[in-house]
């Protein structure tokens, strides 16, 4: 399916990726290609390696790639630091955004945005210009200005943390966003806000990978492809109706699949 002719070059290519942590193999040969404008959903049981895949693409130091390549815009990024990946346009939306006491959210967002802007040879923003920019972006996730003066994620509710993630995505304007269970812990209203935020930010040049357990996010954002992961491999790939089928039949249904090569 992904072998059909595309008009542009892929944003992300994961090629036969094997990875482990503490010598424990987690990924056992994952391949995935994302082209501009595509939305991919990755589904699967807890512990199947979905989150690990997202962390490895973002460069988490706890995982070792034992085989295979990750290419971003045609370049191998296996050995890039996490900050270099972010600056060049890879965004990971965390399943559990981390609290950083004492560091103001506004300053954090500004430093982060400027790191990306610097990479893009855009002018770095001072506090005043940044305030203007962030005000605009706050609209997208319907967040109150007061969030900016608090410490990063500290004391935020689950929904607030997730919206703060999407705010960061809006500021960083990544080429590819991997959103790890961004829908978990959200009520219906918050889910709509987050989903509409993601849609506003993405466009024909960006790629999105949604890692999720539930159909409800995919009702809001219709994926082009749905991948099912099990035991460190993608065992089935289909179009958006695969998610519906999965919802109806449960993961047990997938246990009988033979790995598609």
């Amino acid at each position: 399916m992904q072998s059909k002719m595309k008009e542009s070059d892929p944003i992300l290519e994961v090629e036969n990726l094997f990875a482990s942590t503490d010598n424990l193999p987690i990924l056992k040969g994952v391949s995935l290609t994302v082209y501009p404008g595509e939305i991919h959903a990755i589904m699967g049981r807890n512990g199947c390696g979905k989150s690990t895949l997202s962390k490895i693409i973002a460069g988490h130091p706890s995982y070792n790639i034992t085989n295979g390549d990750i290419k971003f815009l045609g370049e191998n990024i296996n050995s890039l630091e996490p900050e270099e990946r972010s600056q060049s346009g890879i965004f990971l939306g965390f399943q559990y955004p981390i609290e950083i006491p004492g560091v103001s959210n506004l300053e954090f967002l500004r430093v982060s945005t400027n790191a990306r802007r610097k990479f893009l040879n855009k002018e770095e923003l001072d506090t005043f210009d940044f305030e203007e920019l962030v005000k605009e972006k706050l609209e997208i996730v319907k967040m109150d200005h007061a969030f900016l003066s608090r410490s990063v994620n500290q004391g935020f509710s689950g929904g607030e943390k997730k919206r703060n993630e999407i705010l960061q995505m809006a500021l960083l304007e990544p080429k590819i966003a991997i959103l790890d269970e961004t829908d978990s812990g959200l009520d219906i209203d918050a889910l709509r806000i987050v989903a509409s935020g993601i849609k506003k930010i993405s466009n024909a040049q960006t790629g999105i990978i949604l890692i999720t357990h539930y159909q409800r996010l995919l009702d809001e954002i219709k994926p082009n492809y749905v991948h099912v992961m099990s035991d460190g491999q993608i065992i089935k790939t289909g179009e958006s109706d695969l998610a519906l089928e999965l919802e109806a039949k449960g993961y047990e249904w997938t246990d009988n699949f033979i790995k598609e090569t």
Partner: protein, 480 residues
Amino acid sequence: MVNENLVKDVVKEPYKYGFVTDIETEKIAKGLNEDVIRLISQKKEEPKYLLDFRLKAFKKWQKMKEPDWAGLGYKQIDYQDIIYYSAPKQKEKISSLDEVDPKLLETFDKLGIPLTEQKKLTNVAVDAVFDSVSIATTFREELAEHGVIFCSISEAVKNHSDLIEKYLGTVVPASDNYFAALNSAVFSDGSFVYIPKGVTCPMDLSSYFRINSGDSGQFERTLIIAEESSSVSYLEGCTAPMFDTNTLHAAVVELIALDNASIKYSTVQNWYAGDEEGIGGIFNFVTKRGKCLGKRSKISWSQVETGSAITWKYPSCLLLGEESVGEFYSVALTNNLQQADTGTKMIHVGPKTKSTIVSKGISAGNSKNSYRGLVKMGTKATGSRNYSQCDSMLIGDQASANTFPYIKSQQPNSEIEHEASTCRISEDQLFYLQSRGIEFEEAVSMMVSGFCRDVFNQLPMEFAAEADKLLALKLEGSVG
């Protein structure tokens, strides 16, 4: 697991202030005895009462034992192997800054403390101390117009002898402790500040201490007197060259605040800390104490301690006057094999006195960082209150942090509150910041300055920015 190589690379970041000024100095021979003390006193043309003060202190010191309760590990100091007086040779009488040896001016220039008329800092008056002597004090005339006296303590002995005789040794008596006794016997120079009644000092006052020679100790003495309803903000900075021997720095600072007076004393201490193996560095054994003598007087200590091989200091407040206020805000950062044992004593004597302690200790590398503090409520301290907060941050898994809060209350009608916490910079926090494009080193320093925010907010503006940068520099490569 985190960036092992990066860590090794940046640990080699050189100490920026480690240069030595090649200048002809006048030194006396190594060793300590009564004759040496007489010689120092004679060189400084001191009155008899001061020589007696020194000799008495020396006698006491000889009977005292070097304290070991802090559990600091260091090679025994040979007090006969130290030079007790070292001064750059210059003209007998200097009438203006133009006559100061250009090498000295250049040294302070390099340290970011320009002294000359054209370049001097515009909002801060500076007293520059080089080894044992004060080189220059800026803005003296301007300050004099307000009746403020800001000069070296040697000059104060000559020109304001009555004040020295009245106050010297009244806050930190010569017999207070081993290092205070040693300082009282051999102190060479330091700063003197006098703020007259009702005057708010028109600018910040600052002393900059520079140790240049490797074999001489530095024993400065600072005395600040704030008369009724006056106020002053005083800053102190310190650096030293890199030597592979240890240099002893044993200072005494005394503050006196009368009715309604307020003194704010801020320190950024960046003495040479020794290398990664713990070779060299300054032994910083300092006694700092303020006396809130008057009603509603206030003394506030804020310190950022990043340098020295060993730091042993407890800036304290004696709260005598009714409703007087003592504050202590501290950031102590240790890396490699540094040791810091620092804290404060808040002695509540008068009624309705109030004290606040906020201490932030950051330990990285193989360092040891302890908070040690005493809060005491005396029998007359009715309605007095203390609030203490001691937080420690550990970086890496080899550093240690301790908190030793001592609380003594003889007054049931008083309140003492103590909070303490320990945290560690986690790999997840670092990864989160990095995954947002923030470089590893910057991520660490953002988190450290976030941790220190409460204290940095207490520092004068120029200092706060400098402190932030200093911490970042000190921490480079410490996370492994």
